[in-house]
């Protein structure tokens, strides 16, 4: 086996794994580490269902090799809630019915979190372009945009 030993931090935990050189981060997360929240919708970086953050940068984990995260910090959907307390984005997605089938939801949440941490007060257009790398086939995006707007307000601490 041509395994590469990788040491990384995932959602705050130190993790070590072996992977083959050609294995994607998505495959490592799902098949080696049991973190199945990132989904494979295309495998070509077109749908965003596998979105995670590596060293603070939003990426499609199907386009990153597992070996590339050596020494880096990985954030996935499994680390978004704190214990049993949901992140405001998670709360607002539920409140606004911003998901139907839910397969794209982990990717949208990661992308929205990344967007709001970079831009706490985005316009509707900025939200729409900020999430344009994530495909949703069920909702028509309306309720997703509203959920992100509402979550942004909560995260800024504005009065409702």
């Amino acid at each position: 086996m041509n395994g590469i030993a990788v040491s990384t931090a995932i959602n705050g935990d130190d993790i070590e794994f072996l992977c083959r050189p050609e294995e994607t981060l998505l495959t490592v997360l799902r098949d080696r580490l049991g973190l199945m929240g990132a989904k494979e919708g295309c495998g070509t970086g077109d749908c965003g269902a596998c979105s995670v953050r590596v060293d603070g940068r939003l990426v499609c984990s199907c386009l990153v090799l597992g070996a590339e995260v050596q020494g880096q910090v990985v954030e996935t959907i499994e680390g978004m809630a704190s214990g049993d307390s949901l992140h405001p984005l998670q709360e607002k997605f539920l409140e606004h019915a911003a998901l139907q089938c839910g397969i794209c939801t982990p990717g949208f949440l990661m992308a929205a979190k990344d967007l709001l941490e970079r831009n706490p007060d985005p316009s509707e257009e900025e939200i729409r372009f900020g999430l344009a790398g994530n495909l949703c086939r069920c909702t028509g995006y309306d309720k997703i945009v509203r959920a992100v707007q509402d979550a942004a307000q909560v995260m800024r601490g504005d009065a409702a």
Partner: protein, 753 residues
């Protein structure tokens, strides 16, 4: 639920509220398990080898090198899926589509499959399989396939056609609907508009690829974990194809990552089961996105002629449509559905529609949300818009003058009962979007749409827990939040809070047969069965309360989640709560449950109307959606947020089809855009907010008035967008998708002529 004494309108406590969905936390935390999120001990990886040819005879397949590769545990071809169809042509077609038997009939048709210890080994093994093809002529265009010289796609192609009609061989089926005398109707009309339309093939585009884990044991039992809209139907078809006893195959539906009709048919599941049977180990089979596009789904490409005659007052005197739908290499019902729905919104004295299914060398057509209706509406509603322009009449007024009402005879036969198209049009008329002024290069389009919905076999069970909470088990797969709607219905009927009911989807061993979640039937049928099951459970609860009180059961009524004694003798007894009765169950007769097994009848059809405002860039031909409104009759919205979600999602799928989505085939018959980069579905930045209005004209066939709502929203958008572009540019659009090059070509062409 009570009836208001004054208005006679049902008043609800839970139904119509918008609680958080019960499967929600799992879905926002990444814990929900979809088709690919499940593993069995010792499982292998399955992969499928697919034909690179649109049409080819399979002369031989040599699997010896693949079988000899270390780590390969099974290689199968059609020889490993013997014909158990017993003369059932439809079943044999399904088998042939799952694994080509003598011919590959489209680019992407499965010809062999392997199971190996890992993906790398399985992929290497695929490369070692040698298939000797004799390439045959192919046809991928509907109108080309209809020409008598076109190449015959399937040897059974004449099986359902009257030989006296002497129709071309690629015609699978012809269906005709209508009434009156259309020629007499055209003769007395003041204006006739006749046009031909073309719609390219689109794909359902669910984000989750097909995935399953199959395990078949030597004793003939098996398990299948699969993403599907109908696990009971999958069980029957898979068992029949594999020659298994239906009851020995247990199918569990995973969470489903979108289906829209595309997960109502089996493709890879029988292959995974056959691989598992041969290897003696579980097999996980997931499709790549390229496989999804090349081999599953798509809707029909279509070609349609429409002719409508009207009086000067805008009353339709006669209407005719000839609709040709591609069905892939196998049989289809798509022409029939197009012919049934084309004129269903209008009360027409003389009407005739002919729908034809045409065999072509493309993947087998699968249902896609109100299948066939969107392109039929595109053609019909476009002609109506042109008529409105020529009569100088408000296009909404033209719809009012012809809209079907209670008692109208539909264009396809049945007489409509209580329907809500007029109420929908009234809601459109009073919507502020109609008053927003339009600038240069902007246009506003209106279109109506119809879908009929189905009922079917349904089975539910309600179990009362020891603490007085309830578990509802249903068998219709939840594709977009229906578990929460069922909890609302059970809570309503039982008189307890929504959060005291938990709804789950049972596997095929848990409940009796349930038909697939298709035809907008899930919420309609399962809510009806749920109401029945709760009523039965309430009967049991009343008996138990009577036992506890030692009074006759006729003196016990059920109110607000409690048993109450009535009558002079014991009317002063304190009520017994559900929890109190449940606690005593071990001493009063055991577990408390209610069941319902029905064929759901009384479907309520659903009409909608959409308004689309666009701006077209004359330099590039690109269209921007400025505003979009969906108005539709839901009968009764159980969970309004998810009804709005259906409206918005369906509309946006239609917008995608209207503006961008199409299968592109090369002259070689191969699909050229099998990926989300080149098959472009709408993204967030393409769209505005999608406004919705839920009209509620209760369906008298359902206890709460529910109509199926899922499919109608995709019917009007192609026409609404086309009418908006046509009005913005002054050029009538007749070919979807109206992608920038196609709009630009139409504009250039109009300048020349």
């Amino acid at each position: 639920m009570n009836i208001n004494a004054k208005t006679q309108i049902q008043e609800f406590r839970s139904v119509g509220t918008r609680p958080v969905r019960q499967d929600g936390v799992d879905k926002v935390t990444g814990r929900a398990r979809y088709g690919a999120d499940y593993n069995m001990p010792g499982q292998l990886v399955g992969l499928v080898l697919r034909s690179p040819h649109a049409h080819a005879r399979i002369k031989s397949i040599d699997t010896s090198a693949a079988e000899a590769l270390k780590g390969v545990k099974a290689v199968i071809t059609a020889a490993d899926l013997p014909d158990h169809a017993d003369g059932d042509e439809g079943l044999l077609e399904i088998l042939d589509n799952c694994m080509a038997r003598t011919k590959a009939r489209y680019d992407g048709h499965a010809v062999a499959a392997v199971a190996a210890i890992d993906e790398a080994t399985a992929r290497k093994a695929l490369g070692l399989i040698r298939v000797d093809y004799e390439v045959l002529p192919h046809v991928t265009d509907v109108d080309e396939a209809l020409k008598s010289t076109a190449n015959v796609v399937h040897e059974h192609a004449t099986s359902r056609v009257d030989p006296e009609q002497n129709v071309p061989l690629n015609v699978h089926a012809t269906e005709e609907f209508g009434h009156g005398d259309i020629e007499a109707g055209f003769a007395k009309s003041d204006l006739i508009v006749e046009r031909s339309f073309k719609a390219e093939q689109s794909h359902q585009g669910y984000i989750e690829p097909h995935a399953c884990v199959a395990s078949v044991n030597a004793d003939g039992t098996g398990d299948l974990w699969v993403t599907t809209q109908g696990h009971f139907s999958y069980r029957i078809v898979c068992a029949q194809l594999l020659g298994m006893d239906v009851s020995k195959l247990r199918v569990t539906s995973s969470e489903i990552g979108g289906g829209f009709g595309g997960k109502t048919h089996v493709w890879a599941e029988p292959v995974a089961l056959a691989l598992s049977r041969k290897a003696g180990r579980p097999v996980k089979l997931t499709m790549s996105r390229e496989e999804v596009f090349r081999s599953t789904g798509p809707t029909s490409p279509a070609s349609i002629d429409v002719k409508i005659g009207v009086s000067n007052e805008g009353v339709i005197t006669s209407a005719y449509a000839h609709l040709r739908y591609g069905c892939g290499p196998y049989s289809g019902v798509w022409g029939m559905l197009g012919a049934m729905t084309a004129f269903a919104c209008y009360d027409i004295e003389n009407v005739k529609t002919i729908g034809i299914d045409v065999r072509i060398n493309r993947p087998k057509t699968a249902a896609y949300r109100a299948p066939s209706a969107p392109v039929a509406a595109f053609a019909v509603e476009s002609v109506l818009d042109e008529i409105a322009q020529k009569l100088d009449m408000d296009p909404l007024e033209l719809r009012f003058r012809n809209a079907v009402k209670n008692g109208s005879r539909s264009s396809y036969g049945p007489t409509f009962g209580t329907i809500g198209l007029v109420e929908v049009l009234e809601a459109v008329k009073s919507h502020p979007q109609l008053n927003v002024p339009l600038a240069a290069n902007q246009g506003r389009g209106i279109a109506c749409g119809y879908w009929f919905n189905i009922g079917g076999q349904t089975c539910t069970t309600l179990n009362i827990g020891v603490d007085g909470t309830a578990t509802l088990t249903i068998g219709t797969v939840d594709v977009g939040g229906s578990r929460s709607s069922m909890s609302l219905v059970a809570a309503e009927e039982l008189g307890i809070d929504y959060d005291k009911v938990k709804t789950v989807i049972g596997d095929t061993a848990t409940l009796g047969h349930n038909d697939t979640t298709e035809g907008s039937r899930g919420t309609f049928s399962s809510s009806m069965a749920t109401i029945n099951a709760v009523k039965q459970a309430i009967g049991v609860l009343r008996e138990r309360a009577a036992k506890m009180w030692e009074i006759p059961v006729d003196d016990v009524v059920w109110e607000k989640g409690c048993a109450r004694a009535v009558g002079e003798e014991h009317g002063n007894l304190p009520t017994l709560s559900l929890a109190e009765i449940a606690k005593e169950a071990p001493n009063t007769g055991g577990p408390i449950a209610g069941h319902s097994e029905i064929v759901a009848e009384g479907v309520g059809v659903s009409f909608g109307a959409h308004i689309c405002d666009v701006e077209v860039d004359p330099e590039t031909g690109a269209t921007k959606i400025l505003r979009y409104l969906v108005v539709q009759d839901a009968g009764r919205a159980i969970h309004p947020a998810y009804v709005e979600g259906q409206y918005q999602g369906g509309a946006v799928q239609g917008i995608g089809w209207a503006l961008n989505e199409e299968y592109v085939y090369g002259a070689d018959g191969r699909l050229q855009n099998a990926g989300f980069l080149d098959y472009r579905i709408p993204v967030c930045s393409d769209l505005p907010m999608i406004d919705t209005v839920i009209v509620e004209v209760p369906n008298p066939g359902h206890p709460y008035g529910v109509r199926g709502v899922g499919e109608t929203p995709i019917v009007p958008p192609l026409a609404a967008v086309a009418n908006a572009i046509s009005r913005a540019t002054g050029v009538r659009m007749t070919h979807v998708p109206m992608s920038p090059p196609r709009v630009l070509a139409a504009l250039e062409n109009a300048k020349v002529t």
